[in-house]
Assembly symmetry: C3
Homo-oligomer: 351 residues x 3
């Protein structure tokens, strides 16, 4: 695969957090493979039909003593690129270590041999300056051989991270920013318009504190996907204002009789992850909606950010810019009463 | 709505923790709206049929430097009144701030515009002495437009709390007691005989330490509902002795094939909440059953209480009063053997 | 039941962690009682068909200031013996306290009267040197009387522990090792080839720190069950490399439309427990796979261990012994590159 073709392919497969948002066209959906919930012949679909996708990732130093993963030299980000595949696909990752420390890439949720474990235990890491190939496979659910039971497939809101930098568990690498999102979709899953990745790592979100935490932006009515990941050594609860989801694999109810609890907050402890989709502003309208860790000592010390739901046409809704300004500390006066504040002119500048 | 009518209505809609227990008659169930799990025409029921319910709440100072919400002046409690609606209903809350601090009311799980967000970010709070209206809407699940997927409705075991007192996240307000339960029911849900609200906030339960934590009381065979809420900055696990429930939306299995785990303890971290129903004493009999945080350093320092299951006729079961006495430290001697202690006289006082 | 018969029965019912692994023949499965997910007449099966199983357990001091439960005098282990029953069965446990402290046995998930609560609150404990009988009952799900709702049965991945040693909540007893696993199976559940119990208690696993944590061993393709239990006062997340499961009652999907999230890590906070089955090495091959708490400060200080998946014939797979050696610190040099290390001779000794 030449560089140009690869780049084009990467633009379809892999999207970076803030540059491309997360395009769903990266997922080549085979025709006629949509799987209904009660699809007949389900357990005969054991032949993996996936393709092998090869990418190169670069681990490199960033300013501020941080380290990140990127898809091109000099383009590392924190979090690293969001990787997306379908159940049955294989990701073959050539990891180039451009630092002078050992490091690795260890995924959650997918299949890998010990050589691709990413752990020092299995001697699976890149020494300083080294290049190493890691292979991640995935599969669909299979019949468990009894009753109606099935062995789970790989579909999930997963993540990947270093497991070797500065220790056997990657603790230093994680602190420096060596982590990213990984989504494995089941055929038939609803695809989002965009995906946001929020990593609550120790007392930061994506290695940032408020007001420098990411502002996630969507237009009213867009289908937005959140992938929330926990890292470090502290416990967290991820809360999104004015939106809710089902506490299950997708965030949707699989049917009217799906027993899943409906939630708007979920524990997000180190190493765990979850994801869900919401319709931006559904039932609540546009505006600057807060997302934050609900552990009070964490929200008070910088673990919060803004989910900006713009008007359907992309314009700024009343009050949103003022809220953003307030979040950034540009305005300090606040008044309150039982009358909502007057709407602000669209696009009102705060300077 | 005049005051008298409103009060009568409030007695039906809203119940206070310890005064009324939780009447279920507050929920006006429209006839012929019970929704079966596999109800036909489900996804056509998108027209909201709910009613608008208007209440006034008062935030005011309490002794011991606490602050609470109440439905009448001078009647604030901790937790605040338990609010209950059906999916589709709207709650319009006129919040009267009778303190000299800014504060607000922010709900989980329901729909609200930025004006009713309750956050300083959106300039949504009551200044000292001010009155402000907050509107919370709710809705039923709706078809997601693909497969059998549904976008979740509002039904859930939620809560509300201050988001502005002493900071942008209400940390001080929460510590002082500005929180309460909110239940949104799906039509067809089983209604309980009574509901208990237990808020694990930092090292306390409903702002109390043992032995002053609430004693929840029911008669053998009553259908009892627990709403458990976490607040503050510590992690907790809520455990109830001798009773268990399904880890899903209701605590019941939705059908024999409901895959939910059965639990008798659940993580209860800051900002999260869950609820479930049990039949008091089912399979285990009456008695003084402990509920407590299972984090050992928390249970040892006051995060425990008693769920008293009386006999079916309301009388005191053998041994229960002794257990209550022991809990209150009135008796200190303990003997043990394989013979149960003799039954105590019914209603035996420990004073 | 004479001693010989009881011992034979115990070998069928109860298995000890490391001696017998967990035999499934201990569960006498009544013929024709397998319950399909959509079994007709489900809610009429309310007659309990279980048997009463009587065992004697001994709580006794161990070296290193620890205390454990055992099925015979002088045979206490940490964790204590894994107890397994089917829904409907009753366990009658005669607990012999061979220490000079008060202690008890308190179960999660099953039914017991206040006399068998195991709590000082209910005067339910063994004084020093005393013997006391604790009775645990279990039951199947029952119709809830409305819609398709069912009241959960007792099936689950539970545990038991002291609730009286050194305080009213057993905090000292837990620290010393007074805990064990309890599995209640639903008729029709898939039985494992072996079961492993991992208790994350404060900063240890089964009261051990790496590299002395248990090494769980299975052959490629064996059906392996993990029962994970949290204890103490710290929060944890249990992660298993290269294997995943459904976040529900069994770890399997109950049907293709089971909405459960698929996970490879789960919160494991004090007092909570969960279990799941995996096919050892499925899709990933044999090897030394890590299991560990993913709280970085915990994995770095000893909360990790090895799940050794041998070849199908029980022989040692390439690289596994080297990994085990590395884990034990016998080798310190590590090299890395994009070429896997050469395979080690089968059964290679590290001494």
């Amino acid at each position: 695969m030449d560089k140009h073709a690869q780049t084009g392919w990467l633009h379809r497969l892999v999207t970076r957090r803030s540059v491309l948002a997360t395009s769903t066209v990266g997922l080549a959906v085979p025709a006629a493979m949509t799987l209904g919930a009660g699809g007949s012949g389900m357990h005969t679909a054991q032949a993996q039909t996936g393709v092998v996708k090869k990418i190169t990732m670069y681990a490199e130093n960033l300013p501020n003593n941080e380290v990140g993963y990127g898809l091109e030299p000099g383009k590392a980000t924190i979090p690293g690129p969001l990787l997306q595949i379908y159940e049955g696909d294989t990701l073959e990752i050539t990891l180039v270590n451009r630092t002078d420390k050992r490091l690795s890439i260890h995924p959650h949720g997918v299949d890998y041999s010990t050589e691709s474990d990413g752990s020092p235990l299995n001697n699976s890491f890149n020494g300083p300056g080294e290049t190493r190939v890691y292979t991640w496979r995935s599969r669909e659910m299979t019949f468990a051989g009894q009753g109606r039971m099935f062995i789970p497939g790989s579909a999930g809101y997963w993540h990947y991270h270093d497991h070797a930098y500065g220790g056997d568990h990657g603790t230093i690498g994680l602190t420096k920013g060596l982590y990213g999102g990984l989504i494995v979709r089941r055929r038939g899953d609803i695809l989002p318009d965009k995906t946001f990745v929020a990593v609550l790592d120790d007392s930061r979100i994506n290695n940032k504190k408020a007001p420098d935490t990411p502002m996630f932006e969507a237009n009213l009515g867009q289908r937005v996907e959140f992938l929330a990941i926990g890292h470090g050594s502290l416990y967290h609860t991820f809360h999104l204002h004015a939106h809710r989801w089902a506490d299950n694999r997708t965030g949707y109810l699989e049917s009217p009789s799906d027993p899943s609890a409906i939630i708007d907050i979920k524990d997000l402890n180190p190493g765990t992850s979850f994801g869900f989709q919401v319709i931006a502003g559904q039932g609540v309208g546009p505006g600057a909606w807060m997302y934050h860790c609900h552990v009070q000592s964490h929200s008070d010390t910088g673990m919060s950010g803004i989910f900006l739901v713009r008007n359907a046409d992309g314009s700024m809704p009343p009050g949103a810019q003022e809220a953003i300004d307030r979040f950034h500390g540009h305005t300090h006066a606040a008044t309150a009463g039982d009358v909502p504040p007057p709407p602000a002119p669209e696009g009102h500048s705060h300077n």
